[in-house]
């Protein structure tokens, strides 16, 4: 490979190539047409969106659902998980129930949520809470139980009370698991907020996407998908970096 090209990061090259391929697919061949947007069309539509206040209102609505839902989940799940994890009996009792509930994707309860709560932002928040609480609680409980057994044994030898055990052994191990759970929960909250809007009419980017698809506007539909992807990548990169710095003792 020419020396110049070798110095450009691989990601940049593949992104450019992907965009070119996208443009070609959209311009010639079976997919070209009104139901497919080329790279330039989608990017142009996205740029137009970025200048519209309606778009940013939708973004804010989605963020609202995600953030409020996430906060409520954390407030419920972490203390609950902590208490559950302290006792072997309570952990074993709740594990099955919570494992069952955490596997149910929130999209499944949307029909009932629409009827009970109504198709709006509140429903989105409830959906996010449903999505996050059970897995975060179980993960916190697991973190509490996962404390270094040697350390705990040593503490018991020195007759250190439960409070000290929690503070120096269980809390750090729980924090690692809470960190992992939080990372998943942040991504999940964004995704669930979009789903609540798309399928449940809760507002935000999801509802906007439903609208552009239902009016057959391929350019705008692809623009929103592009936006969602970029945001998703940005958020996950940010989370990985933050986790590494905050939970430095985990080595993960």
């Amino acid at each position: 490979m020419p020396a110049v090209l070798r110095r450009i990061p691989a990601g940049v090259i593949s992104t450019v190539v992907a965009l070119i391929v996208w443009q070609i697919i959209g311009s010639v061949g079976p997919l070209a047409g009104d139901s497919f947007a080329t790279a330039t069309e989608a990017i142009a539509a996205l740029v137009e969106f970025l200048g519209q206040s309606d778009f940013w209102t939708a973004v804010w609505q989605t963020l609202q659902m995600a953030i409020i839902g996430l906060l409520i989940s954390v407030v419920i799940a972490v203390p609950l998980g902590f208490l559950i994890g302290l006792s072997r009996f309570s952990y074993r009792s709740t594990k099955f129930t919570f494992d069952f509930l955490k596997v149910i994707p929130p999209i499944v309860i949307i029909p009932i949520a629409i009827l009970v709560i109504g198709p709006d932002v509140k429903m989105g928040v409830v959906l996010v809470v449903f999505a996050n609480t059970f897995s975060m609680a179980i993960q916190t409980a697991y973190g509490v139980r996962d404390a270094d057994p040697v350390l705990l044994e040593t503490m018991r030898c020195y007759r250190m009370g439960l409070a000290k055990q929690i503070r120096y052994a269980r809390l750090p191990s729980a924090a690692v698991q809470i960190g992992i759970a939080l990372r998943l929960a942040i991504s999940a909250s964004l995704v669930v907020s979009v789903v609540a809007g798309l399928v449940g009419g809760a507002g935000g980017l999801g509802s906007l996407l439903a609208l552009t698809q239902s009016s057959g506007n391929a350019d705008e539909t692809y623009a929103i998908i592009l936006f969602l992807g970029i945001i998703g990548v940005a958020v996950s990169r940010l989370l990985v970096r933050t986790q590494r710095r905050v939970i430095f003792w985990s080595g993960k």
Binding site: L115, I117, G118, P119, D120, G201, L211, S214, S215
Partner: protein, 339 residues
């Protein structure tokens, strides 16, 4: 002459001052009740933004703070039940579903749109008359081989929501033409997607309401006919404004104000100039359809009142078609004044 003229001017001035004083004191005298209105994106809903912009609602003590658009009536009724909106537009069939199947405590407060009395009988006799009357339609591809209602059996037809007006009226039309309504494959699509999906051949027919009925013919497709004309016999109000029984009991003044506003907006909408203003309020702001296409639509007719038959009739027909499992007493849906 000049003396009389001067007196005339003075009189006009005095009257003007009195009128201005009256208006000035009347407007902010009572605080307007804030209401939220739910609806779907069709031409007829233009009455609401127009009513707010032109002050009709304000005159009757109401302030529309939000107009929420839903892809179809059933979610809007769910939103009404959840308290997200105070008044909601729904066709009689959707209201009947909610009342019969979920026991939702709804009250019909005002008519929204429908047919002038007696017009249906004439429309049933002539396809041309039907085409000029109704705002519902079924859009098909002219080359798709669907020429009459019974041809829809075995085809895929899109409706904005299952089991409500589109599906019920089309099923009736198919049955009346000798076809098998159970053989029609209904899929759910919002109006906007319906025409595009039809064009690309993935569905064979689409239920439409204005302005999408005109959108259909302007895109080069064919309007098979009006399922509404097939279904309804002598009903006047088809689309209705509803609220929850709780809201009606707790806010009689707001309900009365809403009824007066809708009545005035209806009279306005039935005039040619008024209808154009309504169209401009709805398109393209809410429907995403350009105003030129929307103008080709049959004007909606705004009935002056609701009669008990407007609900009894559809309920009986739905029972006959199997959409309702047992007979329904619709009296509880109407406010006392309409019974």
């Amino acid at each position: 002459m000049s003396n009389i003229r001067r007196k005339g001017v003075a009189l006009a001035g005095v009257v003007g001052v009195i009128a201005a004083a009256a208006l000035a004191t009347a407007a902010p005298a009572s605080a307007a009740t804030n209401i939220k209105v739910g609806t779907v994106a069709i031409n007829a809903m233009g009455t609401i933004p127009w009513g707010q912009a032109s002050g009709v609602f304000a005159k009757n003590g109401l302030n529309v703070t939000e107009i929420k658009i839903y892809p179809a009536p059933p979610p809007s009724l769910a939103a009404l039940a959840a308290g997200a909106v105070d008044f909601d537009y729904a066709p009689s069939i959707a209201i009947i579903n909610a009342y019969a199947n979920a026991g939702m405590a709804l009250k019909v407060v005002a008519p929204a749109d429908g047919y002038p009395a007696g017009s249906l009988t004439a429309a049933k006799k002539s396809a041309a008359a039907a085409a000029k009357l109704d705002d519902t339609g079924v859009c098909v591809n002219p080359t798709g081989g669907i020429n009459r209602w019974k041809d829809l059996a075995g085809k895929t037809v899109s409706v904005p929501a299952r089991g409500t007006q589109g599906e019920v009226t089309i099923s009736q039309a198919v049955k009346a033409d000798g076809g098998n309504p159970a053989a029609v494959n209904y899929v759910t699509l919002p109006f906007g997607a319906a025409i595009d999906t039809l064009k690309s051949g993935k569905t064979q027919a689409a239920f439409t309401v204005e302005p999408f009925t005109s959108s259909c013919t302007s895109s080069g497709l064919k309007n098979l006919g009006s399922p509404g004309v097939q279904f309804f016999t002598d009903e006047v109000a088809i689309g209705m404004w509803v609220t929850t029984a709780k809201f009606a009991a707790e806010n009689p003044a707001a309900v009365a104000g809403f009824q007066k506003s809708i009545a005035e907006l209806g009279r306005f909408g039935n005039t040619k100039a008024g209808w154009d203003k309504i169209l401009q309020s709805a398109n393209p702001a809410y429907t995403d359809v350009d105003i030129a296409t929307a103008r080709k639509a049959n004007p909606s007719y705004f009935p002056a009142t609701i009669v008990a038959n407007d609900l009894k009739g559809p309920a009986a027909k739905m029972l006959a078609l199997g959409f309702l499992k047992k007979p329904l007493d619709t009296a509880g849906l109407l406010l006392k004044q309409y019974r």
